[in-house]
Amino acid sequence: MPTDTVELIRRMAGGDRYAFGAFYDRYAPLAFGLIRRILRNAAEAEEVLQEVFLELWVSAHTFDPARGTPEAWVVMRARSRGIDRARSIRRKSEGMAQLSGGTVPDAVPDPAMRAEGREIVRGVLGQLPASQQEVIELAFFDGLTQSEIAARVGQPLGTVKTRMRLGLEKLRELAGRLR
């Protein structure tokens, strides 16, 4: 783990805005790409990115380098806020659909997002068997729970859990090779 990043976070906790700027420069691309992948909408992603970094600024004092890397800290916060926003959008759509007596259309990603989705499948996830890719994508990017995934893919809950475990083990192995 780069100790200079930990030092940046420590300085952020002390109210150092310059450290925050450097931290933003280093991690905003990581968070933004992930949030865009989750929301499939650039305008929403820009808003959520700002919220995520404000949260990281406020909670910098809670970061514990012994419990995880700065990358994981940023990614898990960005993922969580992205999924929150996606659910909120979904609930609003459902409310509107109920009022109008219609059904909720699936989100239509822009063409760039579709290309990006393919890219990630070709990348790290592409090295996993398709069944493991599917459950990890549905959980991590789409925010579905294990029961929802089991219903979606038509497999028993136990199979879904096992696929997630095997997929994550493989991802860990791939991440380890690159360190």
């Binding site: 905003a28 990581l30 990614v75």
Partner: protein, 254 residues
């Protein structure tokens, strides 16, 4: 391998993916509270692997967002104004003046950092005082035979959520929630006391990333028999009567 622990290793991975639900979620959170080092290590490893996955998606955000975010934390655009100052300064000032100004800027920076640190310490002290007050109250209430402990169960939208309220008619009480879903900034959970068939607002609260929330509840004016407690999702400022989805409720009086 410890076979008794094996199911938790699998649950830890699903938890790291944010996909655990139902009884599994309750069971795993209870297990995590034991401080299991193996599960904590699994979670850290899984988060690192997911961070690696996200790295494949990296994309620079529009440049204007940087100024917007920094402007929001500072209330102004301090760093950019500073840069303009230094550029002009190098051309205009003599070495002696520069030394004087540098000293002044350094002092100002130290003062700003000092004030920020003092502010942070003050917030921490205030937070610790609140915690100490709540713990004192909890101990006092638990020692009083008139105190009731009421359980709230998660409803359809949050089946894994749970709540407890330690309630005393004259003292009010303390409410604790676990496993509630995260909510957007503009929303808050609101606790309701249902008495004589009417919901009375008892305060709003938010939850941390683990879904934990707590709230000090003021006593109701006058002796009123409480029938039920419930939690709904409302605008962050709270509302006088419930409008949103209900997430938790205690049993209705039989």
């Amino acid at each position: 391998m410890n076979t008794e622990h094996e199911p938790f290793s699998e649950l830890a991975v699903v938890y790291a993916l944010g996909a655990l639900d139902g009884e599994d979620l309750v069971q795993f959170r209870t297990h995590l509270q034991t401080g299991c080092t193996e599960c904590n290590r699994t979670l850290e490893d899984a988060h690192a692997a997911l961070a690696h996955l996200a790295q494949g998606l990296s994309e620079p955000p529009p440049r204007r967002l940087r100024s917007a975010v920094i402007g929001r934390i500072a209330g102004d655009t301090g760093p950019r104004a500073g840069a303009r100052f230094w550029t002009g300064f190098r051309w205009a000032a003599s070495v002696a003046v520069a030394a004087g100004v540098l000293a002044a800027v350094a002092s100002a920076l130290v003062a700003v950092r000092y004030e920020a640190r003092m502010g942070q310490l003050a917030r921490e002290v205030s937070g610790l005082r609140d915690q100490a007050r709540q713990q004192d109250l909890l101990l006092r209430l638990l020692g009083d035979p008139a105190t009731q402990v009421v359980a709230l169960a998660g409803l359809d939208v949050s089946p894994g959520a749970q709540g407890r309220i330690v309630w005393h008619e004259r003292e009010g009480g303390l409410f604790f929630a676990t496993n509630l879903p995260p909510i957007p900034r503009e929303k808050a959970y609101e606790l309701w006391i249902i008495a004589a068939g009417k919901p009375i607002p008892a305060g709003v609260f938010s939850v941390d990333v683990e879904g934990h929330g707590r709230l000090r509840v003021a006593p109701l004016p006058g002796p009123v028999r409480v029938d039920q407690f419930a939690v709904t999702l409302e605008p962050a400022a709270g509302v006088p009567a419930p409008t949103g989805t209900m997430y938790l409720a205690s049993k209705a009086p039989g």
